[in-house]
Amino acid sequence: MALVEVKDIFKNYFLNKTSLEVLKGINLKINQGEFLVISGPSGSGKTTLLNIMGCMDKPSSGEVFIDGQKTINMTSDELADVRAQKIGFVFQNFNLFPVLSVIENVEYSLLFKPWSSIEKRKKAQEALSMVGLSEFARHKPLELSGGQQQRVAIARAIVREPLFVLADEPTANLDHKTGEGIIALMKKRNQQHKTTFIFSTHDQKIIDQADRVVKIWDGEIQL
């Protein structure tokens, strides 16, 4: 069984009476342990597709299965629970909470786990040491560099031991070298823990790192 499966996905946006078809019949199966890149030019629909797979958005038609569960009929609370239990997120702008310390940011991700606060703290520390930022645990995110912030974000995504991690252009706000470091970190995690990663990028160098590349062009998958 595929970890994530999207069947015949269409997505339309309606802008003052004119309809914009962003996704035009996407079919995609992603398996456990994959390190998958979605690439394509700007405006091709990468973010839209990732949002749908991440249970943050619903397709106009088509079906989505996460871990075999059909999600398109779920309520927004049910979708929130799926996100909380099964998906890790990494964003282009890091999106850390500036008022929380680094370790608290990581812990926030465990809000919905039935663990004790001591356990949560321990897990968060492990995740931070995995991304090499143990000594920054008590710092505020804005005291860190962009690359370090994105590492915190990765720690936040993997600490909850998700089925898969979604990362929409995780390197777009970083310089090349730092971006490569981030990808290497994700790759390491993928190899060591078989964590599934799905991310999008324009960067050819990063595309080369992926096990599997899905190219999107104007809302369709290019074979």
Partner: protein, 422 residues
């Protein structure tokens, strides 16, 4: 965790939160101060009225309050001694004293005016000396409970001096009576014949009620009874140790009277002091209006802060939702923030309110005479625990209320749009 996030967010924009909190603190201080001030005004008015005029409870013959004005002598209490010893047995009662009231003409020879006379027991209804009477609170503190009238000049009534009377300030002035002037009192006795006595002015008094001072004079009960040719009294004035016991004593008396088949009416001070009840009603309305105004200001202030907070943090809200927080969690986040603002402001307001009230109370506020009175007084606003508690709870509540709409709005955001938002 959401609570932690909310509290941290309060301190994110220190200046802005400080202004919001200051607004709340200011509002709370205003409520606490005005509340404490009014409470003192109520107390002074109430105790003043009870002391000077009504006592806590008055007992009359059944029907007196309805028809007593027209035919006062048809409603006299004959067995007053028996009644007094019955009432005295109640532990809450300080003392019981009989009164008889009548009207007549007062003459110095040159001038004649009408008056209302009260026969009272000088042992209980003493007059305060001027310095004590100026500050009623001081008078209560010093245990002067029998204070009724305050002497302007001269001396108070004396049971051994049967023909010494004291006149209200206005009454004395209208006939130009001085201390030691002789005045003649002319009235109808209970059986309808005319009677007169010559008396001497022992003193001139005032009370907190100007209209009272303009027509009343007081004399020993015995003298009044002699003048009216009766052994009876008209009313029994009951003074309690504590005003709060009034209703309880009233009920006990009602029960006792019923058991003995006595036909008496019982009136409590609040039924008698119409002026007090009206004034309190008016002040309470002022207070309510003030609270509403303060409430609106605080609501707007917190609402504004929270709305700005939501606008600034749209992408953060998107992140929170993406990480799996249900919309209820988002609502809570902002509700906590509003409640936190309310709680901090309320707590600081209560503390500062106490300090302000205490400080002002030490100094005192000089008050003009209340309507219908001729004595100014010094108000010492009180710290009222009930008001402190209600103000604190109120500001927390207001915090929650005013954050509700912004919180709801935040929870309605569409995740993908929120994440895209720059």
């Amino acid at each position: 965790m959401i609570l932690k996030l909310a509290i941290r967010n309060i301190f994110r924009h220190r200046a802005r939160s400080l202004i919001t909190i200051s607004t709340i603190v200011f509002g709370c201080v205003a409520i606490i101060f005005i509340g404490g001030f009014f409470e003192d005004v109520f107390l002074q008015l109430r105790e003043g009225f009870i002391e000077a005029h009504t006592g806590h409870i008055q007992v009359y013959k059944e029907g007196f309050t309805q028809k007593g004005r027209v035919e006062p002598f048809n409603y006299l209490i004959d067995n007053s001694q028996e009644m007094i010893s019955l009432i005295r047995q109640l532990p809450e009662v300080d003392y019981v004293t009989p009164r008889i009231q009548f009207s007549g003409l007062l003459s110095t020879g040159d001038n004649t005016v009408s008056f209302v006379g009260q026969g009272v027991d000088p042992q209980y209804e003493k007059s305060l000396s001027k310095d004590v009477g100026e500050d009623l609170r001081k008078a209560y503190k010093e245990g002067v409970k029998e204070g009724v009238t305050t002497l302007k000049i001269g001396q108070g009534l004396d049971s051994h001096d049967e023909y010494g009377v004291i006149l209200g300030e206005g009454l004395a002035a209208s006939i130009d009576a001085k201390v030691n002037s002789s005045v003649t009192l002319l009235t109808n006795t209970v059986d309808g014949s005319t009677n007169a006595i010559d008396t001497k002015v022992k003193g001139v008094f005032y009370t907190s009620s100007k209209s009272f001072d303009d027509i009343f004079l007081r004399m020993p009960l015995k003298t009044a009874q002699k003048l009216l040719n009766t052994e009876s009294v008209q009313s029994l004035v009951i003074k309690l140790h504590h005003t709060d016991d009034t209703q309880e004593v009233r009920n006990t008396l009602k029960f006792l009277f019923k058991k003995r088949h006595f036909n008496f009416e019982i009136k409590t001070w609040d039924e008698l002091a119409e002026f007090y009840t009206q004034t309190v009603g008016l002040f309470k309305k002022f207070y309510l209006i003030m609270r509403i105004i303060v409430c609106v200001v605080i609501v707007l202030s917190i609402f504004n802060t929270m709305n700005m907070s939501v606008m600034e943090r749209i992408s953060e809200i998107g992140t929170i939702m993406a990480l799996g927080t249900r919309s209820k969690g988002v609502v809570l986040l902002f509700l906590y923030e509003g409640i936190g603002l309310g709680a901090i402001g309320g707590a600081m307001g209560v503390v500062l309110g106490c300090v302000v009230v205490q400080t002002i109370s030490c100094v005192g506020i000089i008050m003009p005479p209340p309507p219908g009175a001729n004595v100014g007084w010094l108000s010492h606003p009180m710290i009222v625990p009930r008001i402190l508690l209600s103000t604190f709870v109120f500001s927390i509540f207001i915090g929650g209320i005013s954050a509700f709409y912004p919180a709801y709005r935040a929870s309605r955001l569409v995740i993908t749009d929120a994440l895209r938002y720059r």
